[in-house]
Each structure stands twice: as structure tokens, then as C-alpha cells.
């Protein structure tokens, strides 16, 4: 009742009383928004259940993706069927994915972190331009970059061979904005006070960066490494354009080219489940690691540790 009284006082006089009353009756601002909550749960079910079913059927005893015939790991390790372990092309695809993800993360993160620090402090027209190019690489449609890279390595810099070298080169440039943007955001929030204090206390320029700045940047570096790793595991467009032989096709490309015909069936689900597992492990490590590194900094609980590993 208090809300009704409060509202009718605040409403402008010409409003009809009936309308104010009706609005007051259901205008309780503390009421739980059941409709919206139900909608959110519906969305969550819709977004997760199909994937859960696909994972489930990778453990199916039979080859069906609609009838459950008992639990089995034969599509992963079974002999005599097309399983991930015993089929050479599936097996090779897993290895290629891991190789690309590791190489890309190892090259991309240090370059991106240094780039972020350099760009943030080297204030000039050139650095602004480079920053613009970096953000541009973040928004350009992946297909266009992939086509351009394909033309570069086939028509221009032909010493970068199609296959693993071209794939890594392309993945690094496609992912460099993760560390650059995330680390730069943290640089801005840290400010320069600590570095200057270190310099005043006699640290060298590099010493101040290595011993003071870098440890403070570690959570951001870590979060971006996890993002680069997972997004390389999941990448499809760049690796599809830049892979050469079947040996350099990672899991995503193999799934794409086999869905209609070829090696369809539960073995593909098994392959996709392995991809999912790799990404989720990276995400979990990222979440726990970020939480641990920023302990004592947070005020709002674990929500703040979730946002950086999702890149927001």
C-alpha cells in the first residue's frame, strides 16, 4: 500500500486516478520478475541441452544419434571401428589442434603484451595508428582476413608455406587483439605510480617493468593466454583457408569436411567433445587462476573473475 500512496503523490495531477491505481497495484518494484526469469532459464536450456545431447551420443554404443544403446567409449579408443585413437586422420587432427593452440598462444601472448605496454606509453600519431590497426583486426570479418592471408602466402610472401607455418602466422594476427586489449585495460587501471616509485627507488627501466609492472599485469596476461588458447582450439575459418594437406587439418576443419558423408557418426561427436573438453579445461584453469591471482583485489566476489575470461 505504501507504494500506491507514494506513486499517486508523485504522479502529475492530470493523470486519471484509475490508471494510477492500477499501476500502483502491480507496480511493486521488489516483485520477482518471473516472466523474465523463466525466459532466461528457457534460453539456458536451449543453449546447453543440444550440446549435452551431442556429448552424450559420443558415448553411445551404437552408431545412432537418436537412440541410446548403452554406454561405451569405443568411438574414442575402440579398435575395429572409426575411433579417434585408431583412425589416423582423426588422431592427427587432435594433435594438429593442440600444436596450433600451443604455438599460437606462446607466440601471440608475449607479442601482444609488449605491444599493449608499448602502445600505451608511446603516445604519438604512429602509436595511435597502430592501435587503430589492432582494433581493426578485431572487428574485420574472419573470412576476409583469411582470404587476404591466403593470397599473401600464395602470391606474395611465398616463403610462409601453407600448412602449419601459415596457420600459426594467421592465428597469431587474428588473436593478437585479446592480449593487447585486455592487458591495456589493466594498464590503464594500474596507472604509472608503482613504476615511478620503483624508478625513484633505483630500479632500472627494464627492472621496473619486469619486477613491478609485469607481476601486476599477470592476471590480465593469464586471462588473455587462456582466451587465445581456447579461441585457437575453436578456430575454423583461418585454419581452413590456410591448411594444405590432410595432415595440417585440425579438428574443426575435419568435422566440417566430414559432416555430410565421409566419417560421419559418433566419431565426429567424440572429436567435438574432445575440442569442448580442451576449451572447458582452459576456461576452468583461467577462472581459478584469475581468481587466485586477484585474491584480495576483488570486492564483489567471483563475478569479477568471470568477466575477464569471457573477454568482456
Amino acid at each position: 500500500m505504501a507504494s500506491v500512496a507514494g506513486e499517486s503523490v508523485a504522479t502529475s495531477p492530470p493523470e486519471p486516478a484509475e490508471l494510477t491505481l492500477r499501476r500502483g497495484a502491480r507496480g511493486n518494484p521488489w516483485r520477482r520478475p518471473w516472466v523474465m526469469e523463466g525466459f532466461t532459464w528457457l534460453y539456458i536450456v536451449w543453449s546447453i541441452v543440444p550440446i549435452a545431447i551431442a556429448v552424450l551420443f559420443s558415448f553411445n554404443k551404437g552408431a545412432s544419434q537418436a537412440t541410446w544403446q548403452g554406454f561405451s567409449t569405443k568411438w574414442y579408443i575402440g579398435k575395429g571401428v572409426t575411433s579417434v585413437l585408431h583412425n589416423p586422420s582423426l588422431h592427427q587432427a587432435v594433435i594438429q589442434t593442440v600444436v596450433l593452440a600451443v604455438l599460437t598462444t606462446v607466440i601471440c601472448v608475449p607479442i601482444g603484451v609488449c605491444f599493449a605496454i608499448g602502445i600505451d606509453r608511446w603516445r604519438s600519431r604512429t602509436s595511435n595508428g597502430l592501435n587503430f590497426v589492432m582494433i581493426f583486426s578485431f572487428v574485420v570479418p574472419e573470412l576476409l582476413l583469411a582470404v587476404a592471408l591466403f593470397l599473401l602466402v600464395t602470391q606474395g610472401l611465398t616463403f610462409i608455406r601453407l600448412g602449419t607455418p601459415a596457420e600459426v602466422a594467421g592465428l597469431v594476427v587474428w588473436n593478437i587483439s585479446w592480449p593487447a586489449i585486455i592487458v591495456r585495460a589493466r594498464l590503464v587501471s594500474i596507472g604509472r605510480t608503482y613504476e615511478e616509485a620503483a624508478a625513484d627507488l633505483g630500479a632500472s627501466r627494464l627492472g621496473a617493468i619486469w619486477r613491478v609492472l609485469l607481476p601486476m599485469l599477470m592476471p590480465a596476461v593469464f586471462a588473455s593466454a587462456v582466451l587465445v588458447f581456447a579461441s585457437t582450439v575453436d578456430d575454423f575459418v583461418i585454419v581452413e583457408q590456410l591448411s594444405s594437406t590432410a595432415n595440417t587439418q585440425p579438428m574443426s576443419v575435419l568435422i566440417y569436411s566430414n559432416v555430410h558423408g565421409g566419417l560421419s557418426g559418433p566419431a565426429l561427436n567424440a572429436l567435438a567433445t574432445i575440442m569442448l573438453f580442451l576449451s572447458l579445461v582452459a576456461a576452468l584453469i583461467g577462472f581459478l587462476g584469475y581468481r587466485w591471482m586477484t585474491r584480495g583485489e576483488r570486492t564483489k566476489g567471483s563475478v569479477e573473475a568471470l568477466t575477464p575470461i569471457a573477454g568482456i
Binding site: V172, R192, L276
Partner: protein
Amino acid sequence: MAMTGQRDTYDRRNRGLWIGLAIPGAIWLLVLFVAPFCVMLAVAGGGVNEFFQTVVPVWNPLHWSSWNLSAVWHDIFGTGAFIGPQALRTLVYTAIATVISLAIAYPVAYFVSRYAGRRKTLFLILLIAPFWVSYMMRMLAWIDLLQQGGLFNSALSLVGLPGNTDWLGGKSVTVILGLVYGYIPYVILVLYAFLDRIDQSMLEAARDLGLSKWRTFWHVTIPLSKPALIAGTFITALPMLGDYYTNQLLSGAPGTTMIGNAIEGQLDSPGYVGQGAVLSLMLLVVLLIPMIYYVISTARGSLENA
């Protein structure tokens, strides 16, 4: 002011170091991001070796020929054009899928940012989870469900509807829903990030000043979430316009191809690589204005935060 002065001296004194740190990334970006598009220009303006059907890039802009451009132009607008309908379809699919994505994502993000309370972490984990599932896996899951004899058709026949529809046989509705399913996690996260920053006291002030719930939403929340909606539109529409795999996975029929398929097809056919380059550049030019707008607004946002 004193702070700024100090900061400037510190930055200027160590300038060589900052340049040195930026150089590896700068070279990588110039050689593998800027240069590829220059090669694309050279291929687009170049010719074809008539005998081997190989690309002959022309590096000097003064010697570029418009042969590829006019061939592509003819394919888009001329008689019997086959790229024009694909381009139109791309626009229609992208527009519908973007609107559906925003319509689903907005209430979800709004609920989680404002009402989730202590369960926010749980909701965020559930919303972020699909973001970590590869695109291929998400499409594969729907291929399993929608195939003939799949679980979706079985579910339909359970409730008495015809359960023998070939959903994967070239249906636009399947492709559009596939696009929505593929890109919606990104929209939700972007919307959440923006909506979470909206100052609650603004909404309380609107209510205190006598606006009804719906009018508060319409006159205060919606204008405040405009940047979120713009960012959400970009984050879905830009990749969708370059998508060529969703329709291949969920339909594979010529009736659902998009502009990305045209580009891919030309790159794979000997003698047409130059036209593929022209088509890519045309798409790039069309997207350049929204991309620059997005980049500038992001850059401005990060400057304001600083």
C-alpha cells in the same frame, strides 16, 4: 595537472623502450594484416595467365586493370547474375538473425544484470558456457538433432505434428536459427557488460519522479542501453556477413548460399581467384563504415575510462 606533467616526462624519457616493446606486434600486424590486404588489391587489379589459369598479381596501382571488377559487377547486377541474389540473401538472413538474437539476448542480459542478485555467478557461468563451446560443436549438435529420424523430428511426432521434415535439406529457417544459435552467446555477453554498468540510481530516480515501470524502461533504460544494442548488432552482424559455413553445415543447398560462399567458390576455382579478391574487397568496402564507426566508438570508450 602536475600528475599529467610527471606522466608525460616518464613516458617521454623512456620513449625508445616503448617503441621497442611495440615493434614486434607492429611488424606482425603490418606484415600479416595490412600487407595481405595490399596483396588482395594487387590480385584484384591483376590478370590471369590464360594458359595456366593462375593469378598474375599487378603491384603497381597505375597498371591495374578493371577486368576482374567488371566481371564481378556483371555477376552481381548483370543479366543472369548469380552473386546478386546471394548478396541479397546474406543481407536478409543477417538482418533477421540479428533482430532475433537481440530480442532473445536483451531480456536475458537485462534479467541477469539487474535481478539475478546473489545467483549472478551461477547465471554468468551458464551464459558464458556456450561461449567456450566451439562453433563446430554447436552446429554438429543441431545436425544430430535435426536429421531425419533425429530427436527433433521424434519430438514433433510425439506431440502429433508431422515428424518427417527434412530440416537439413535447404531450409532458410534452419540456417537463420543456426546463425542465431551460433552467435547469440557473444551478443548476450556484450549486452550484459553494458547493461551491468547502467547506474541503478537513474532508474530509481525515474520511478521516484513518477514514471511507470514501462515508461521508465522506454524513456530511461532503452536510451541508456543504446550503445549496448549498437555493439550487439555489430558483434553479430559483422561475422554473419562473412559466414559461409553455417549454411553449408545446416543445409548445403544452393538455395541458402550467402556471399561468403561466393567468395570461397571463386577462390577454389582456377582463373577466378582475382574475382574472389574483388568480391572480398567489395564486402570490405561495404563494411568499412560500420567497422570504422565501431573502432572509433571503442577507442573513445577506452579513452574515457582512462
